[in-house]
Symmetry: C2
Subunit: 329 residues, 2 copies
């Protein structure tokens, strides 16, 4: 008999999540029926979206939502062999049973040498978010200038590198000097610490005096309000995230955006990566190829131990990670 | 010898424009040279854009910008006959000299019975703004629901009627009961006075419980912040104007827009009608045809007397007009 551990949302977050908002629960799993599989989570993802989605999709007592790389430990389903690795969205738990329908195999060309945790990051949802956001929302073209914030994060670090592959100039902003050093290592043309510059407006203007064609926004709030005024005519803004706002109990206020929108004839579009689920394979294969060729580099912040998931989540929301934050069970 | 009168910007507007911000000036025009024409303004336009553009394009002492319908009163240019009517952008003045290059003739199919002032409204820049904003920015499709504010204004009243012609349900908001009655006469499906409803949110929700596919925004500010939360998934917002913000000395603040943008995957695009100058003829011909057929109705608020231009402009900014505000010289 298998006892799964799971983290539940004990109390809806009020402001910044606290470890006391979570509860660790044990669940006794039944024996497998024909067609079923038993899986063990190997890597679990902590992502910014979990914060706003907790309020939208979960009630107190629910298991935290999320994606994992899991290994098949027992199989009564001939389509799946014991030992195979899959990706699925079963939330924060160590073990679970599946009939196989919700499991996604890693791309068949996945090299043995590549960490499987990348399927939660650069070759997973965050990588796809960068890929479709740049291609389909920003409509990036060679020779353009792309701005990305939270640039050392799981999505931002891929955005910058894909924009370089696409022939763009890339300006990245991050919240620590270590992160800025990382961005320069990744090949960003310009990078600065937005927390220590005297004026964000001046720093953006210095990094690209002609302004920005594309702005991939992971941060929202005040950053976005300043950046929108530095867009070029007909600039495109992909609204991917708003991490600066997720933990506000009382919504922040900012200037209305209509003025720069009108006079620069800007396009702003919000998106969720699920819009391109039908093109997931295309995206993953492209990302995997670039990673294997060394054209897209990655960094992971691995927290050891399932018991540390809340801490890893909170640390990620505080921006403590460089690259993708994952938890190793 | 001709003495032209002209209104100049005496002092940059601070908050709401006042009549003391304007000065009436006389300009002695020289005799015509070969190739030149003398024109007399017949109708002059007052439009919301003049308020923000005064700060962007003008310095104190400049003649107020704007468009007029003018009559050719003297011609030393064989391409233009005395008595012909043209449209041009010569600002607030009674007479001026042109070499003909900046003059636009009225469409050749213009019926004698139609007021020529319509070339400043429904069959002019405001009509084109509605036409291209709906088609190219909102990407309106039959069966969709369109929201428009400042709906009894020069642009809004055309937006609603074009959306009806395009097979949409139309909800219009305006700031007086007379305007709401006018919208109903124009065939709007739903219309309400946003100044007297208890809750804008509830009124919008009642007018279209399923939300809005398209939002043609002439107002910006708080109205837009409320309306954005009523958009359907993948809704499109055409940011045409922000009249609620034009007269602020200190910019108003509102909630950041990123949340609804992301979770509803909305598109927001600002635009200036000049983007489609190369398609002006297409737009004007379509608008003129609908007006002649009676499918697009119009109303004009005509102020008599060039000396009353500042008052007409201020009244328009206060929303005193139904339909297009023009001044008859």
């Amino acid at each position: 008999m298998v006892i799964a551990k799971a983290w539940v949302l004990k109390k809806h977050f009020d402001g910044f999540p606290k470890t006391s908002d979570f509860d660790l629960k044990e669940i006794e799993l039944p024996n497998l029926k024909d067609g079923e599989l038993l899986l063990a989570s190997v890597f679990l993802s902590v992502d910014p979206y979990m914060r706003p989605y907790s309020r939208r999709l979960m009630k107190e007592g629910d298991i935290m939502i999320g994606t994992q790389v899991a290994r098949i430990v027992e199989s009564k389903n001939p389509a799946f062999a014991v030992g195979a690795f899959v990706v699925c969205d079963r939330g924060w738990r160590t073990h679970f049973i599946s009939d196989g329908k919700d499991l996604r195999l890693l791309p068949s060309s996945w090299p043995e040498s590549l960490p499987k945790s990348l399927a939660l990051g650069t070759v997973g949802m965050p990588g796809l978010t960068a890929y479709f956001g740049l291609l389909e929302v920003c409509k990036m073209k060679p020779g353009e200038t792309v701005l990305v914030n939270a640039a050392a994060g799981a999505v931002g670090s891929v955005v910058g590198q894909l924009a370089k592959i696409g022939g763009c100039k890339v300006v990245g902003c991050a919240g620590s000097d270590d992160k800025v050093a990382y961005l320069k290592k990744l090949g960003f043309d310009e990078a600065f610490n937005y927390k220590t510059v005297k004026s964000l407006d001046e720093a953006l203007s210095k990094a690209s005096p002609d302004g920005y064609d594309c702005f991939f926004d992971n941060v929202g709030g005040e950053f976005a309000s300043v950046a929108i005024n530095q867009m070029k005519k007909y600039g495109r803004i992909a609204v991917c995230g708003a991490i600066s706002e997720y933990n506000d109990s009382v919504p922040q206020k900012g200037p209305y955006v209509q003025y720069p929108m009108i006079f620069k004839e800007l396009q702003m579009e919000g998106f969720l990566v699920t819009r391109w689920n039908h093109r997931r394979e295309e995206g993953l294969n492209a990302l995997l190829k670039w990673v294997v060729e060394g054209k897209v580099k990655y960094h992971e912040q691995v927290t050891e131990g399932f018991e540390n998931m809340p801490m890893a989540f909170i640390g990620m929301l505080k921006g403590e990670n460089i690259g993708k934050a994952v938890v190793k069970v």
